[in-house]
Symmetry: C2
Subunit: 207 residues, 2 copies
Amino acid sequence: MTTAGPDRRKVRHEAKRAEILAQAWLLAHRDGLAAISLRDLADSVGLRQPSLYVYFESKLNLYDAMFADGYRQLLTFVAERSYGGDPRRALARFLGDLVQFSSDDIVRHQMLFQRTIPGFEPSAETFALALEFYEVARQMLAAAGVTDQRSIDIFSALANGLAHQQVANEPGGRRWVRLAGRVTEMFLADIDQRRRTSPARKGSRRL
Amino acid sequence: MTTAGPDRRKVRHEAKRAEILAQAWLLAHRDGLAAISLRDLADSVGLRQPSLYVYFESKLNLYDAMFADGYRQLLTFVAERSYGGDPRRALARFLGDLVQFSSDDIVRHQMLFQRTIPGFEPSAETFALALEFYEVARQMLAAAGVTDQRSIDIFSALANGLAHQQVANEPGGRRWVRLAGRVTEMFLADIDQRRRTSPARKGSRRL
DNA sequence: GTCTATATTCGGATAGAC
DNA sequence: GTCTATCCGAATATAGAC
């Protein structure tokens, strides 16, 4: 099928859309996520500003595409790694990888985990990607024997806290990435400790 | 001295400045921190927009004042509480209070702990207030016997992570606030554990 | 699909009278 | 200190020719 006109058109359209998206990330790094200008964006892909509307129906729609793109990157990132073997070691690697993922791209971290763009809320379809990721994380925890909500809440805080400190204080570095192993040990030791003492919960005084 | 003209003028000026600042926080809640408009702000304090420049020399200067105001609130908040008695329990209360402080005002949390306003960097004088707070935190940790940098890094991640999850998922609530005690226990148990096994560090395998 | 031209609104900031 | 008037630039978005 060399004369598949409509197909080629669609492929071209999607390719250009992807190019625009990639440039949007670059501009976000340069100017800040909330300060992307559609003029600059159009310039960077060799278009005039109004032509962008062929690919994105509004600026918020562009942000939505970036949000979706970021979570797809995250899902691919974790899917590429295998977390087999001992579930506890796997959890430690998983945590380190997440912090590394944030450290690798501070703007992407802002987009996915901090919601600071005035007026932007991800659409339902896009948010489904986020939920997909949290399901992966839930399964990682379940494999390590962690299923209660409070422990899940703590683990999410650990992951987000390490990632945040990394991007805020040393973007691109590994200072907090390297703490993932110790933090996972600490977390699991606490789980074990509580399992031993509960439901009686004697012997350790609550702070 | 009832005729202290210059004094009265200065007091009036400072009062108006404080009023503007308070309204700026309100507007930030309504429109988003990065979306404050000086016109709206002027309206809300009964002034015309150019008159704001009598009190703040630029919009970034206004943000700087908000940043300073937020850290002063935080310093007052912790100073009002006494963290006497057992240092470990004090640390647990300190952590819970910090998460509560963030939960109480999501915009203030954004301003102090996430740096997402394009182009804004706190001035040196203002940043000194932030350092003052981190010194308080450092002393709380030192009192509980925690002085090494890696442990401090972990604690900062714990605090920020709990606060972030709280404001992101349940602003105004206490779901992560309530985890502060358990998380502090977990943290200190890890410190103790490492003290027992180091420097030999035998008996526990690293994840 | 891309363009030119333009609508429309809004932003922060300044000049200068009072 | 506050005002009116205005500057200047930037933003997103739309209309309509090609």
